[in-house]
C-alpha cells in the first residue's frame, strides 16, 4: 500500500510519527554524548573467583548468597567477570578436608588458592558462608595490588544476628569494594 492511498487522517498520523522519531533522535543523540559512559579503551574486567561454602539446599542461605553475589557484580564501577567454583574444588586446592573457622585462618592456609595455575589472571577471591539458621555470616576477600599471589585477606563476620536481606546487602556492599582493592584496569 502506497502513501497515495492513505486516508488523510492516517497520512497526518504517519507524518507526526516520523517527525517524532526525528525529534527524538535529535534530542537523545546529544544527551548520549554528554552523559558519562564507562571508560573502555584499554580497560579490562575485574576477574573475581567466588566460592559459596553451603551446599545450596537451603532457600534462606541461597537468598543470602544471592544478595552478596549480586552486589559483587553490581557495585564496581567497571565490569566484573564473576566466576564460581564449587566448595569441593576449593578444598582440593587448599589441600584440606574442612573449612571450619576459615574466616580466621592465616593467609598461608589459603596459599593453594592464591597461587599457581588456578589463580593466574584473577584479581580477587571471595569466600562466603551464609548461615541464616545459625544467625551467622562469614566472608573472606583476597585482593590487592599485584593480584592474588600478593593479595591480603579482608575478613568480615556477623554473629548473633538475624541474617536479614539488609544484613546480606551490607556484607555484599563491603565485599564489592574489597574485591577491587588495588585493582587497576
Amino acid at each position: 500500500m502506497s502513501g497515495r492511498h492513505l486516508a488523510p487522517g492516517a497520512r497526518a498520523l504517519l507524518l507526526r510519527l516520523s517527525a517524532l522519531v526525528a525529534l527524538g533522535g535529535a534530542l537523545i543523540l546529544p544527551l548520549a554524548l554528554v552523559l558519562p559512559l564507562p571508560a573502555r579503551a584499554g580497560a579490562r574486567d575485574l576477574e573475581v573467583l567466588f566460592v559459596r561454602l553451603d551446599d545450596g539446599s537451603d532457600a534462606a542461605t541461597t537468598a543470602c548468597v544471592g544478595a552478596v553475589r549480586g552486589a559483587l557484580g553490581r557495585a564496581f564501577g567497571g565490569e566484573v567477570h564473576l566466576m564460581s567454583i564449587p566448595r569441593e574444588v576449593l578444598l582440593t586446592r587448599l589441600g584440606t578436608t574442612s573449612l571450619d573457622g576459615f574466616v580466621g585462618w592465616p593467609r598461608e592456609r589459603f596459599a593453594g588458592a592464591l597461587s599457581g595455575r588456578s589463580a593466574a589472571g584473577l584479581d580477587a577471591l571471595v569466600i562466603l558462608e551464609c548461615a541464616p539458621a545459625q544467625q551467622r555470616l562469614d566472608l573472606v576477600v583476597f585482593a590487592g595490588t599485584g593480584a592474588l599471589p600478593s593479595a591480603d585477606a579482608q575478613r568480615l563476620s556477623v554473629r548473633h544476628t538475624e541474617i536479614t536481606p539488609a544484613v546480606a546487602r551490607f556484607a555484599g556492599s563491603v565485599a564489592s569494594v574489597w574485591q577491587s582493592e588495588g585493582f587497576s584496569p
Binding site: R74, S84, V89
Partner: protein
C-alpha cells in the same frame, strides 16, 4: 492548528522526560560512592558476567581430595561468651574510634559522613572517647579467631550503650591515610559481637550498616 500542536507538544515533553532513561547507560547507579544501597533489591540483577567453572580441576591434585567426601559446610563451634556482669543497655548507641595519630581532616570528614548516613537511616550514634576501653577493643579487633573472640568479655567495653560501633583508623603510612582498617559492632543482651571486620568500611556501605545497629535485628 491548535489541535495538531497540542498532542505533539505533549509527546515531545514525554520524550524529554524519558530520554535520560533511554540513554543513561553511562550514568549507572552502581557507583560505589553515590549509590544508596538501601534502595537496591536483594540479589537483584547482575550485570557481571558470571561463569561457573567446571569442577574438573578438582582432579588436578587427587592426592588432596578429601578422603571422607563429606560435603556439609561447617564452622568452628563458637563457645558462649564468658559470664560477666551485664550493664543494662539503655543509653544511646555510641561510636568509638581507635587511633594512635591525630585524625586527618579527611578522616574527620569520613566519620561525619558515616554518622550522617546512619542518622538518615534512623540510627543515631554519639561519638564517644574510647577511654580505658582501648586495649580491650583493640584486642577484639585484632583477634581473627571467632572462637577466641567469643571468650572476650565485651560487656564492660559496650557499657550502657545499646550498641557500640568501633572503628580502628590506622596511622598514615608515607603521608598516606590508611583510613579504617578494622571495625565492629557490639550489641544485644547479653552484649556480644554482632559484626567484626578487618578491612575498610566503604562509604557506600555506611547506610547499610544501620541493619546491624538498629533495634530490629537484635536477637
Amino acid at each position: 492548528m491548535n489541535r495538531r500542536v497540542r498532542p505533539f507538544g505533549a509527546v515531545v515533553a514525554l520524550l524529554l522526560l524519558v530520554s535520560p532513561l533511554a540513554c543513561g547507560g553511562g550514568a549507572r547507579d552502581d557507583a560505589p560512592s553515590n549509590a544508596d544501597p538501601t534502595e537496591g533489591p536483594v540479589g537483584g540483577g547482575e550485570p557481571a558476567t558470571e561463569v561457573t567453572l567446571p569442577s574438573d580441576d578438582a582432579v588436578e591434585q587427587p592426592q588432596h581430595v578429601a578422603a571422607d567426601g563429606e560435603g556439609t559446610p561447617t564452622s568452628a563451634p563458637v563457645p558462649s561468651p564468658l559470664p560477666e556482669a551485664s550493664v543494662p543497655a539503655t543509653g544511646p548507641g555510641q561510636l568509638v574510634l581507635l587511633h594512635t595519630h591525630e585524625l586527618l581532616r579527611s578522616e574527620e570528614r569520613y566519620v561525619e559522613q558515616l554518622l550522617g548516613a546512619l542518622r538518615r537511616a534512623s540510627v543515631t550514634l554519639e561519638r564517644t572517647p574510647v577511654g580505658d576501653r582501648a586495649a580491650t577493643l583493640e584486642s577484639w579487633l585484632t583477634e581473627t579467631d571467632p572462637a577466641r573472640r567469643a571468650q572476650l568479655a565485651l560487656g564492660p567495653a559496650r557499657g550502657s550503650a545499646r550498641a557500640l560501633l568501633v572503628l580502628r583508623l590506622s596511622a598514615p603510612v608515607d603521608r598516606r591515610a590508611q583510613g579504617v582498617t578494622a571495625f565492629g559492632v557490639i550489641a544485644g543482651e547479653p552484649p556480644r559481637e554482632r559484626l567484626w571486620a578487618q578491612g575498610d568500611l566503604p562509604a557506600s556501605s555506611h547506610a547499610l550498616l544501620a541493619a546491624l545497629l538498629g533495634e530490629g535485628t537484635q536477637p
